[in-house]
Symmetry: C2
Subunit: 459 residues, 2 copies
């Protein structure tokens, strides 16, 4: 079992030139574990190691390295060596790597591939970024209607070696048009002389090569499959997509959404690997936008400067009130963004959501208003910090809280719909964005309410 | 192809008692699509429909319904009927359903299962909630070292019908101890007279039944598998876990984290299905906690009331400064929470993260400070809104911004580490939580800076 093995000190072995020992260590480990150990070495040390391994072993190990490490390693290796390893990689992993490399390096490497592999790489690279075509692999097995199960099994035995999955076989006609998918279990569970045409159920779900990868995630989610075929505009089978790649896409999307909800551009790189400069730039953009938005609070407040001078006590509750609006807005926005991302809520539901959020906002506002009024009443019972008009102040704070929380909840929940309707990413209506919006408007609600309730007494 | 089919009006057919038509429609559709249509019907209509279908078809369709719909349907069906459908379900899906049902209903249903199935259900339910034992299925095929490939294929043909996956076969010894996993492709790609012992590579990765489901997600992520075996304390094979269930767990975890980041308890139910009362309760809890925390701003501000009365101009920048701290804190917390969730950052990295965040916080603070100072300078050039001491005010705002943003970034990034160290969920350090924390402390930083810089002039 892999867990029992001790991690050998690869760098140490390298320094001592114990190449045979290294080779033995690496061949004994699952590639995922070897890759993890490799990551601790410098790119040059890694390149030396790769030279020690047979090409197919090297390619297998290479696929388990993270993209960044692959890129560095490709740079550290000679052109010819890199081509050999690329040649032996799975087509989809190769595409992911080539996309990451600078255009010139990519072109150079694609050209150094073997003719057959080059064609595959070029075909894959031709699809728009983030399209299903970019994540599919061309390594699958096709079978024909007229074959018997026995012929199918023979075909697998001869041609299946390079196939990414043998769990599903694809039935195509003479033009390459996809007719059906047949699970290997069907072949294994029935008599050997049965025809493929008798195994077919006539139903299959296929992805379109030019569709967005999010469509693929949604389709896998709905149909619970481990692999799906990809077709072109004419229904021709052009590739397959496996669920492990979908898992990665779904995870990246969740990370993107979480970063946006946190109020920044998505990083696209692991936190520990991204350069400090880029990290700061990705965060500064939104922070500056929010700062400029929040400057409106300074403008709005300068408009109420006279009121503040007359009733300094009003400022005491300013952060409390605007942050309550911001918090309820963050909640609502986050809820709706995630529900949209996993397909629980669509544009069509906006009215049902609005009704729920008005009720939620009122209820939440009432709860906070009660707490706020209680706090002022209790403090006033024991001290004179809020003056003789404490009851009026308490009412002002209570009414403002209901208004601000209701407004925060409503704008937080409706903004994702608006953004989606405009064709933008709903996740852009991040929690800090909604909070800033509600800060500015919440302040106006507060002073407007104060102007009415405290008119003639404090103001 | 499934996309071409028109959705039949099931409710209409039901009302017209066209049962044969319904049966034909449902047998022609992939179960995922039938399930989607069923969801539009009432539980009683659904129960009628299920009575029309053969048990195995009904069970297949049932598995595609969401848990909530399954629960309602079970209530609408008779005990015997429900047991029949439960009997035919995959073990892992049945466990997920039984867990959702009230304890009494669960016990009643488990008892009405056939003896063999009951044993399986009880075995699955005995593992702690959120453990791998709860998501595994007992439907897999085991083979022996001494068999030939031909015997394996025969074994599959006779016994494979109920197996959840045939892609991987498990080699066990006479005590049921797991010796190795063999992919079906190995059997399909080699001569029929080869022995199982010759196919084995001696390496396998296994999950432990009592481990947390998050461990399973991490293992699948690392090894890129579609299925993994589950072993007990003695290394005995007790079940398998398939990647489609892992996909669901990973997605639920991301949703949980997003809800927490948005500042609320995770809903555990789809937004559209959760009752309004529960929705409000889940949101109110955190909102009240944050409100109580934010009340400290009122206390802190009442301490600075005299300063405010002397220099009302200071209040104009109050929301701007504390929200900048909150926003940078949200960013940092969100980044680290997600990086921890997907394993990019561990407890051990805290010092490296802290160094990065100090530099980021300083840089971001400097950027915002520059903007803030510019804003005050420009406004003062054209008006007298900030008075004669505008330069001192500008410096106060600038210095406070650097301090508050640095503090926000630091506390936002370190809080997840602290929570994780204490054995709590890092996602609890939600954006609104960090924002509230930084609001209170940011305010103190602001007035402390003002007290020093404006001493002798405004204050």
């Amino acid at each position: 079992m892999s867990e029992i093995l001790q991690a050998p000190d690869l760098a140490q072995l390298l320094r001592e030139r114990k190449f045979a020992g290294i080779k033995a260590e690496l061949s004994n480990l699952p590639p995922a574990d070897s890759a993890e150990m490799m990551e601790e070495l410098s790119p040059v040390e890694q390149a030396v190691l790769f030279r020690l391994l047979p090409t197919d072993k090297a390619a297998e190990l290479f696929e388990y390295l993270p993209l960044e490490a692959q890129e560095k390693l490709i740079h550290a290796m000679g052109n010819e060596e890199a081509a050999k390893i690329l040649d032996a990689m799975a087509a989809d992993d190769r595409t992911a790597l080539l996309e990451e490399l600078p255009t010139q390096v990519c072109a150079r490497l694609v050209n150094s591939l073997s003719p057959g592999e080059r064609q595959v790489a070029l075909k894959l690279l031709d699809y728009p970024e983030d399209s299903i075509g970019r994540m599919m692999t061309s390594e699958y097995l096709v079978i024909r209607d007229s074959w018997t199960v026995s012929q199918v099994l023979d075909h697998i035995r001869t041609n299946g070696r390079d196939s990414e999955t043998l769990n599903v076989l694809y039935v195509v006609d003479s033009d390459g048009k996809l007719l059906d998918d047949v699970r290997i279990r069907e072949c294994l569970l029935c008599p050997l002389d049965k025809k493929v045409s008798e195994l077919r159920d006539g139903f299959f779900t296929a992805l379109h090569a030019t569709d967005d990868q999010e469509t693929a995630v949604a389709t896998f989610r709905k149909y619970d499959r481990t692999v799906l075929p990809v077709i072109d505009r004419n229904g021709g089978l052009v590739g397959i997509v496996t669920v492990d790649d979908i898992f990665d896409v779904a995870e990246e999307e969740a990370t993107e959404d979480i970063h946006k909800i946190g109020g920044m551009e998505q990083l696209d790189e692991p936190y520990m690997d991204i350069s400090l400069g880029l990290l700061i730039r990705k965060r500064a953009t939104w922070l500056v936008v929010l700062f400029l938005g929040e400057m409106l609070t300074a403008s709005a407040l300068s408009y109420y400067q006279d009121q503040i001078a007359k009733a300094v006590v009003l400022t005491l509750f300013l952060p409390l009130i605007i942050s309550s609006g911001g918090n309820s807005g963050s909640q609502a926005a986050t809820l709706i963004i995630r529900a949209m991302a996993i397909g629980e809520v669509g544009l069509i539901d906006w009215w049902r959501v609005m009704k729920r959020e008005i009720l939620s906002g009122l209820a939440l506002g009432l709860i906070l208003a009660t707490l706020g009024i209680l706090r002022i009443a209790i403090w006033s019972y024991f001290s004179s910090v809020y003056g003789v008009h404490w009851l009026l102040i308490a009412i002002t704070v209570g009414v403002s809280l209901i208004g601000v929380v209701l407004w925060g909840t409503l704008s937080g929940s409706m903004l994702p719909f608006l953004l989606k309707r405009l064709g933008l990413d709903p996740a852009t209506s991040s929690a800090p964005f909604v909070a800033t919006l509600v800060d500015v408007t919440g302040l106006i609600i507060y002073f407007a309410v104060a102007g009415i309730i405290l008119h003639g007494t404090l103001l």
